[in-house]
């Protein structure tokens, strides 16, 4: 009888301690999750800013200006165009 009781007490204590550990771990994991989520959001924000930057660099006005001024390009005049037709 005494032995059974002792065993049960040990089991209860072990269970109690594991509850504490589990809770602790869950909190730690949650904090980690939280951190990663914040990072994800941060990266999304950065992605948005980069997209914005990209489209600002790629505005047609800027591309045309660079093409004309720096690269010396111009629209083809009639007669310079070669039309490729599909063989079908």
């Amino acid at each position: 009888m005494v032995r059974l009781e002792a065993m049960l007490i040990v089991l209860v204590v072990v269970s109690a301690l594991s509850v504490v550990t589990a809770q602790h771990q869950s909190r730690q994991r949650f904090v980690a999750l939280e951190r990663e989520q914040a990072r994800m959001q941060q990266l999304e924000v950065e992605y948005g800013q980069l997209q914005l930057e990209q489209s600002t660099w790629a505005t047609h006005a800027r591309v045309e200006k660079l093409a004309r001024e720096r690269l010396g390009m111009r629209p083809p005049v009639p007669g310079q165009t070669v039309v490729l037709e599909s063989g079908l």
């Binding site: 869950s26 909190r27 949650f30 904090v31 939280e34 924000v45 948005g48 800013q49 997209q51 914005l52 990209q54 489209s55 600002t56 790629a58 505005t59 047609h60 006005a61 045309e64 629209p75 083809p76 005049v77 009639p78 007669g79 165009t81 070669v82 039309v83 490729l84 037709e85 599909s86 063989g87 079908l88």
Partner: protein
Amino acid sequence: MKKKARNVTFNHNPLLERGLPVWRARLLLMALMAGSAALGLRAIYLQGVNEEFLQAKGESRYARVVDLAATRGRVLDRHGEIQAVSTPVKSIWAIPSDVRLDPPEARKLATLLDMDVAELNSRLAANKDFVYLKRQVSPEIGKKVAELKISGIHDQQEYRRYYPSGAVMAHVLGFTGVEDKGQEGIELAFDKVLAGKPGQRRVIKDRRGQVIEDVESVKEPLDGRDVTLSVDAKVQYLAHTALKQAIDTHKAKAGGVVVLDAKTGEILALVNSPTYNPNNRGGLSGAQLRNRVFTDTYEPGSTMKPFIAGLALEKGKFRFDTVIDTAPGRLTIGNATISDAHRHGLLTVAEVIQKSSNIGAAKMALTFPAEDMWQLFDSLGFGAPLKLGFPGEVGGRLRPAKTWKPIEQATMSYGHGISVSLMQMANAFQVFARDGDIVPLTLAKLDAPPLSGRRIFSPQTAREVRAMLEMVVLPGGTAQKAQVPGYRVAGKTGTAEKLEGGRYTHKYVASFVGFAPASDPRLIIAVMVDEPGGAFHYGGDVAAPVFAQLMGGALRALGVVPDAPLAPLQMARQGDPASRSPL
């Protein structure tokens, strides 16, 4: 042992033998029982009856409901290029009474916020609980301000909308207000789709305010969805440049351009001038904000004539080559006289369109009952808004046929006494570009072209009018400046004197509406220039060159095969399907 000797045991305690009154014991027992009953009731009250309230009170000590921001959707052009995007920014605010700034700190803060120290101090001297020091600064600056750790200075997250294309797209996109709500253009028309729904969740925070447990999600944040427009950023840019040039050269007051895809009814470009920069909206005037293409109506002038020709052919009363006598260049109806700018004499129906004879058009129109003409205008979409969801769209003026006098019917045939918006005009020209039917216009990109539209003319009629419109840009027509090298072009000029306060002034609206390639129309372009102030005011001189420049650029950008190859053009035939490249 001595005590034992005295023979005093518990049972034989002499004190007890004195015999206490029974009520004392009973009273004590009752008191104890009452006490325990009170505790029991209290416990039941707290645990049972009042439990919810107390739980909530307790939770409020550590649980918090946090708002989760939802971002507004992006606006993309038809190729996925970003036209509007929200990025987070910080607004720096302060509780003036909490702020204790020593001069070096004030200097640092002022430099970060790009303000004068004096201005900063005057803001902080305000007798208010809340002042914005600076709204919408970049997140980096917000972080640096937070790192100064000045008490009483706080920041809050906000979103700011950016429009990379700036003025080019301004009238298509519109803009949002401070609260990130759409106020104009697409931002307003598609606000329901774009706007996100902020969410909430309940969390447990520790003493330092760090979230340690996610209890439940009260409401998931719902990010706004992206909107993909039918607009092609490249065509839009070409249209913007071409119109701006024309406005500058001809010293015009304003102007508008619409580009439609004739195959699908998609709006590829929509440009107004004057325009504005949506990223910096200080000092805007109403004229700049006006989306003329939708909200302004004008008397279309001669661009109306092809519809009358179409009606004439459709009803079988006229043929392509039926001769109409327009001599002597004047026609009196009732007590009013209409006239042509040039005398022409005998003209075929095709030549009436080519040379833009008012008398020819009026003579054709007067062979129909007013009801027929009204029916035509109505089915072409004049007189009622197109309902594209744009704010301020107008329907123009089209009075009921019963009230028309013959002279009005005559003038309406060449576009006076009726008013339309440029978008309506472009819409109606589908009837010639599309073999006689009209599909609904759209600003959102379509996955598949609409199956069929509303039929107005037979394909035969549409093709014949198209041939007439092609003559307009050929030698002998009114718009030779609308020619595009390499492509067959068709269109119609319009020059209308403006009506102000019921009288015609010497101010004009020059327009050109046309499409190309004429063999298989792909693009419809409508150009309108308001009050050209230079040497020219005819549609053929002012609007047609804009059309030509834009059409040439747009067809090349879309890779449309030329249908009128010029002599030196080489045609290469590619036999190998694997290396077939799209143009």
